[in-house]
Symmetry: C3
Subunit: 422 residues, 3 copies
């Protein structure tokens, strides 16, 4: 069948530097390629006999999305959009079965903002928020978390002072290479792959290779990431999967289920609501965000999961991952007015969203030797009925039964910049 497929593909658009017969290069800085518009569907690969699917690469226009690129994948049950321009963030995810419903949220930031219009240093290091609207964006990879000061080594080998900006640079860095591939073997997984670099002379040299994939007709999206230190010296990194859910799954009475070893509020304000950490409110004017920091509990192999379900338990979204890769999970409750962004975030990470100075103090900043890599695999599920929600919930409850949850009712005492670690 391979030769038949090859013949078929040669009749279609010729892939530039394709790797294997079913991989298409969409963007490649080394080869100086950007294919611009691109579209494929299951019909182009009819010998594969899959559920109907399609993929399309578009260039966006208007306002702050002028020139921004978007790859939309439709697997017949789900549709999601990947932004090569915004570091391979997953801009949106929606269920398209029956009436369908969005999994993401309605950010007040409406466009797929091109990084040329984002100044990360703006608003005291909060400029990242000018482009924040994704269903799932990575925070990292040189640093993640809140803005603030940190030390670094300058070109002269001396200690310099660096202003860390909110959630780092990866989400505002365009991908250097992007491909689309279809597996020849069943279940014919659809794979959008991308490579994004954070590299600077006298700075970090970090490479993110991501694969965002789905099986035609399935209810899930899988992300397989690898972070590699391509520099010649040891290099810290941080990575948080900032996954954000809104209405209709999020609503008054919606609940969060997670299996944790420990949970603690991030600040005094969150501490006032720590006993209700899992309960969701409706949109509320002037709501101030509440953030809870949990150490995830896994099964014998490290597998864990977190779930948001709606009030009736008939719709939900869950994330599965391994605590050996991502030991921590941040629960972000931002039950703001609809106009301000009604959202809750479930955020597996290598650490919590304190700034790197603080995270380093608590030994939550991993370090890569030259050439060393770390892999991260997450599976994001859309739960479209009561049975699916129930199964996900029961699995988490079973995990929690195996581990005693320790809740600390007060916020951790974070060191100020410059404090020496004992």
């Amino acid at each position: 069948m391979r030769s038949l497929l090859c013949a078929l593909l040669l009749l279609a658009a010729l892939p530039a530097r394709a790797q294997g017969p079913l991989e298409f290069v969409l963007i490649d800085a080394d080869a100086n390629v950007n294919v611009g518009e691109f579209a494929k569907s299951g019909e182009d690969f009819s010998p594969l006999k899959t559920e109907p699917w399609k993929i399309e690469k578009r260039t966006l226009h208007g306002g702050k999305q002028e020139g921004s690129e978007l790859i939309v994948v439709n697997n017949g049950k789900l549709e999601f959009g990947v932004s090569p321009t915004r570091g391979m963030s997953v801009v949106f995810l929606k269920s398209i079965e029956g009436e369908g419903f969005p999994l993401g949220w309605k950010s007040p930031v409406k466009e797929v903002v091109h990084p040329q219009f984002v100044d990360l240093e703006s608003r005291g290091g909060l400029g990242w928020l000018d482009g924040f609207g994704e269903w799932m964006c990575r925070c990292g990879v040189e640093f993640a978390g809140h803005p603030g000061k940190d030390e670094f080594t300058t070109n002269t080998g001396e200690k310099g002072e660096l202003t860390l900006t909110l959630h780092g640079k990866i989400g505002n860095t365009p991908a250097s290479r992007v491909t689309f591939a279809v597996d020849e073997a069943p279940p014919h997984r659809l794979r959008v792959r991308g490579s994004v670099f954070e590299r600077s002379f006298h700075g970090p040299k970090l490479r993110l290779d991501t694969e965002i994939s789905t099986v035609p007709g399935s209810q899930s999206v899988e992300i397989a990431d690898r972070v590699t230190n391509v520099g010649g010296g040891a290099q810290e990194f941080q990575l948080i999967y900032h996954t954000n859910y809104g209405s209709p799954v999020l609503e008054k009475g919606a609940r969060i289920f997670g299996a944790f070893e420990s949970l603690q509020p991030m600040n005094d304000h969150a501490a006032t609501g720590v006993n209700d950490w899992s309960m969701c409110e409706g949109p509320t004017r002037d709501f101030v965000e509440q953030v809870y920091l949990a150490k995830a509990a896994g099964d014998g192999a490290g597998a864990t999961s977190i779930l948001l379900q709606n009030a009736a338990g008939t719709k939900g979204a869950s994330i599965e991952w391994n605590v050996k890769q991502l030991p921590y999970v941040t629960v972000w409750k931002n039950f703001a007015a609809a106009e301000d962004g009604y959202v809750t975030g479930l955020e597996p990470g290598t650490g919590f969203p304190f700034n790197r100075w603080v995270e380093r103090h608590f030994n939550r900043v991993p370090k890569l030797k030259p050439g060393e890599s770390r892999d991260f695999a997450l599976s994001f599920h859309v739960l479209a009925d009561k049975a699916a929600v129930g199964q996900a919930r029961e699995r988490i409850e079973a995990l929690q039964r195996g581990t005693k949850l320790s809740i600390t009712p007060t916020a951790p005492v974070a060191p100020a910049f410059g404090d020496k670690k004992d």
Copy 2:
């Protein structure tokens, strides 16, 4: 006639999402549209029987204007250029009757600078000046005025410190939706409409809707703006119409006429010239700008006007507006060498160009409730002969006769950042 027009228009370029038969969508982020090049003229609407006019949308090239867009409107008597890329600023205005003359100035910044090449935080918050060359640009709308520090509420609900940059972001924010429309009814006004958003998560959510319009064959440009708080919480805003005139209207002996309740120099340097606030000098090496702050005096309905006339009183430019909308007007005298930007600014505003911390102290920072709007209407006139100049001057002198002008010869004492308001 409507149906005839509809038929005619269907034969021409098809408007994307047009609202009504005579409106053409040029840019629309929601619909993912940017038409690129676009041109229409009176001949395309021959049943309307207007004076000759034309409009053209261009993409600019070279240097810092690479990719910048410009809409040039020619009403037969005047020509002006609107920049969707630079927040719907009016880049230039010129009289094209007879020999014609420009109303704007010759900035040392020569190109219609694309915001990708402007870092507002540069030069201690003066980066805005790297792109400043317009005849009329808005300062605002989250904040306007000088750079400096201010407080704001961060994502955690705590007070953070923010570096305000000169004259805010609106002039370096691309429009999300732009249309061109012709009135079916006489006088067949030509309308360029645009919507520009300053929106950030955990930040302001402000919308500017502008209409920049002119009647074929007329000597004026009308601007009708609406600022709306589309967020869920109360939101301050500031707005200054930074309108800048140069040679030949500005020259040695040119004069400024305005109807004011009060006038005061902005700083000690301006105080030395307060008695000559209305007098213009020729281009002068090493001239240091002088700024005067006036409270405008209106007629019974609030209508007011300001005028710049040349030395002979044969050429002029005036602005008409309502003091209920824009109570203040800043007179900016910058009689620098031609190479450095010989210019004077007449700037109606919601306040003066102190930074927001100071303006708030003096109660000049308006606040919008969620969903609330404010409207601003200004009419800009080109006065091409002695009669037109004389009429404008007499109208202002009549207004001033109704109000006693109080001049304070010294600058206001502005609070330093952090000073408590009594």
Copy 3:
């Protein structure tokens, strides 16, 4: 022959606003032109009878080079790339005779980074390093050197405080006008010309006109630059030609030869290796850069030269210039691991890479009167065999014999920001 050529050229692509029959406009902001793709070769000018050559203008794609432009010149013996987008920097230079070899280095920054992805203020003013990968880039022209604070005059005529960013803005400023020309007269030099502006209202108004040229079949590239103050007031400037060589010319045992009046380490770390300032090491993990500051010694006319040769003395690269134009030369030794950028820089300049505050203290910041210009001419040679290397070395040794070299073994005492001179 001129008329024949004219006729031939009229049949080829018509140059927009060409100056003379053999000049082609590639970019011109005044005329709103960017030709996009462009290619010419010796065959298009067959009456000229030159060695084979070609030139091509490309738009780059992928990652941070999306939209970046590159002009590649091939003179038959050498190939080099000029980036109009990055201020006419020479991105790469390589020998293409026989097996060929690169003259530049392998920066960890891999793409021809578009300035839209560079925030110079990032990393405490080191953001320039996010785009640094060129064989030769200019540092300047308002300021060059290390980040730090300096005073400047604000719009109100008062002293303000400015954060200087590493090596200034010129290398991240797109050229406003670019042309390509071929000399009608032998030796039919190929000339890429560009104009880049650093201009701001209430800021510097500096113009760089550069010509980067080569003769078909030759082993050298000539750069002729002119910096002009187009503003109405006196204006300081700084200019360093940051020329960077890597493997294979740079290797363990490679040596630097220069003719100097004096040489001094830039800091204490460099002081530890001052006696070996001319010796090169192989790539070394965690190597901390060493910088040496030399005053160049010229012959009677001011001509001087600096050379890097490989260990065997069989390959080399030299730069020739005049000490009256560029009195200083910085030797930058950065023998880092290959992944981190193994490189040495030979950097003629108007001063050293301290920040402007320090350089002003030492009287190394030239100032231009309104309208005044300074010219800078440099000749970059590829030395492809032992004989060529030997000649270059002997010339430098002869120059040094005419001048006693004074080595100061300790770093200069640089004033802190705010220190008064004397």
